[in-house]
């Protein structure tokens, strides 16, 4: 199953996505939680904590920094850029905006 959660800011998208991801994981599913918001907060909703969420490195920023070669596979990206969240959910942040003129995210 692949789902995307969409809606207006403040409507509760991230809360729904994080809670849904954990409940699916508790039911035994392998869950990849993909945070595609340039202001990524899914880690908070998953229960990873504020400061840990703040320290997550986006895939885009990791590649820009030249820290690793481009990961050609989803598995590679999950391994390199992902972090473990509660209930066994694997969390990957696509990109994050931390500075002015960040380029196309």
């Amino acid at each position: 199953m692949k789902v995307v959660v969409a809606g207006k800011g403040g409507a509760g998208k991230t809360t729904v996505a994080g809670t849904l991801a954990r409940l699916l994981a508790r039911d035994g599913a392998q869950v990849l939680a993909l945070d595609c918001d340039a202001n990524p907060m899914l880690g908070v909703s998953l229960g990873a904590g504020m400061e840990r969420t703040e320290l997550l490195v986006g895939v885009r920023q990791g590649l820009d920094a030249g820290e690793t070669a481009h990961e050609p596979t989803v598995e590679g990206m999950m391994e390199t850029f992902g972090t473990d969240a509660p209930d066994g959910v694997r969390l990957v942040v696509a990109s994050r905006i931390d500075k002015v003129d960040p380029g196309c995210p």
Binding site: M41, M50, I97, P105
Partner: protein, 236 residues
């Protein structure tokens, strides 16, 4: 809701007010109590040059944009909108967005608006702050709720806003239910909260109706708090 209410309260205090809505959703228009136009007003204000780049049409600058393309809002507020996204996404309204972006970048240097109060409403998150969508502003009202996500977002926006050029950042605590909420915000942001807006059911009720808070519940505690914000802005 805060931007629209603030703009009208400034206008009621006798100030000329220009409201700028760079959100692609019509939140500010509704919170002002204005009617959303059928099509983005700035659609015919921009054109592509021979090099393929967008530019304002000859004769269109901030003054002409406000005269010709602004929407009338209650209390005399003039509203300029970037444009609202329809079912086909951004491409159909790209001329309006390009025109809007260029107009707001000329505002800061426009003598005609030196005495105006300009209230801009940015979409949620740090994206437009990072991309320079508030070039006219010398003060950021950092609206923050006492939630983890809102705190992280506010801290990120404050850092990004200060990278571009010196701006005054005013922390506004919103949806406050307890004294500890304000203390948590101040501790996390390491800056004082200057105005506290209480959690107020009138705000949700106004939003459900698609009405301006100021029209739906003019005596609500949240309106009184935003009035204090207007007074604080004008004091400086």
């Amino acid at each position: 809701m805060i931007a629209g209410t603030l703009a009208r309260l400034l206008a009621r205090r006798g100030r000329p007010v220009l409201a700028l809505d760079s959100d692609m959703l019509p939140g500010l228009t509704l919170s002002l109590g204005a009617r959303p136009p059928d099509a983005p007003p700035l659609m015919d204000a921009a054109e592509r040059g021979e090099d393929g780049r967008w530019r304002l049409k000859r004769g269109v600058g901030p003054v002409r944009a406000v005269q010709r393309y602004a929407t009338e809002a209650p209390d005399g507020v003039r509203l300029v909108q970037a444009g609202k996204v329809g079912p086909d996404g951004l491409p159909p309204i790209m001329p309006a967005i390009q025109a809007y972006y260029r107009v707001i970048h000329r505002l800061r240097r426009s003598p005609a608006f030196a005495a105006w109060d300009i209230v801009g409403d940015l979409p949620a998150g740090p994206r437009q702050t990072a991309f320079g969508w508030a070039p006219y502003a010398d003060r950021f009202l950092l609206v923050v709720e006492p939630t983890s996500q809102s705190l992280l977002t506010a801290r990120r926006i404050a850092r990004i806003a200060a990278q571009r050029r010196p701006v005054q950042i005013t922390a506004v605590a919103n949806k406050v239910r307890a004294r500890g909420d304000v203390e948590r915000i101040e501790r996390f942001l390491d800056r004082p909260v200057e105005v506290v807006i209480p959690a107020d059911p009138a705000v949700a009720a106004a939003e459900r109706r698609g009405a301006a808070l100021l029209d739906h519940a003019p005596d609500a505690p949240s309106v009184a708090a935003i009035a204090r914000l207007a007074d604080a802005v004008l004091r400086e």
